[in-house]
């Protein structure tokens, strides 16, 4: 069940807001304190990638983030509307043997997803012509914490 949904325009300044929100909800959901930095960074990476993609392809379209507390997991889904040309790529085994030799665009996009894959407990990346959807989750206290 989605507990919080946020849409924001593709502006770099809003990425910080999104990651602060995600961290606050993760804490409230009962994600361990030691994992909160990972949540903050992974959500920031997903939102940054989406903002960059929207600024290239569809700057007027909003980016959507869903933060869910379900079955003892804290789940975050970041959805963008920019057509992805990265379909079929294996995101679980990204390597950067020659980061200095890579094109900046490839480097940035690949780095962001590599960081997410390295940080989140569970990640799925769904690229398509209608946009990319990144789902990531971390263990949380069953039922979450009291909202007090």
């Amino acid at each position: 069940m989605a507990t919080v949904e946020l849409t924001f325009s593709a502006l770099p300044a809003h990425v910080r807001t999104a990651r602060l929100l995600a961290t606050a909800i993760a804490r409230r959901t009962g994600v361990e304190e030691s994992l909160l930095d990972e949540v903050r960074l992974a959500v920031g990476e997903a939102c940054s990638r989406a903002v960059e993609a929207h600024r290239l392809h569809c700057p007027g379209e909003p980016i959507r983030i869903e933060l869910c507390d379900d079955s003892g997991r804290f789940e975050v889904i970041v959805t963008d509307s920019a057509p992805s040309d990265e379909q079929g790529r294996d995101y679980t085994s990204l390597r950067f043997d020659d980061p200095l030799g890579q094109l900046p665009g490839t480097l940035m996009s690949g780095f962001g997803i590599a960081v997410i894959v390295g940080l989140a407990d569970d990640v799925e990346v769904f690229p398509s012509q209608k946009g990319m959807r990144i789902r990531m989750s971390w263990p949380a206290a069953a039922g979450g914490l009291s909202p007090v």
Binding site: P12, A13, V15, R16, D37, R40, L41, G44, E45, S48, V51, E52, R95, F96, D97, P99, L100, P104, L107, M108, F111, G112, A114, V115, G118, L119
Partner: protein
């Protein structure tokens, strides 16, 4: 926290002090500073990241871009960082093999002196 940048030179080494968050919003300012320093002939840069609270892949891209620029002039770009949460990002992306990463400015200066 916003990004604060400062820099000063010690012999042939230019030390860049970075404080705050390096992300998609603030990274362009660091990129501009590194480009400006290289354009002014500063080819040996040491970026002190001990006061950096947050670093994402945009920031990594800026540092890699800076490294490429100084290497084009046979220069160097090295880092000072002991924070595990920042070092983890370098490890995940394999960039620990690309950057010299030191525990303190003094240690980096000493290594730079040896390499001269």
């Amino acid at each position: 926290m916003d990004l604060k940048l400062d820099h000063h030179s010690e012999d042939s080494l230019t030390i860049v002090e970075v404080e705050g968050e390096i992300d998609v919003y603030t990274a362009p300012r660091l990129r501009e500073l590194l480009i400006d320093l290289v354009n002014k002939g500063n080819f040996h840069l040491l970026v002190n990241m001990e006061k950096v609270d947050f670093l994402d892949s945009t920031g990594l891209g800026v540092l890699v871009g800076g490294l490429k620029r100084v290497r084009a002039h046979d220069g160097s770009l090295e880092l000072v960082c002991t924070q595990e949460r920042i070092l983890k990002i370098f490890r995940i992306t394999g960039l620990t093999k690309v950057f010299g990463i030191y525990a303190s400015v003094d240690e980096a200066k000493e290594a730079h002196g040896r390499d001269k």
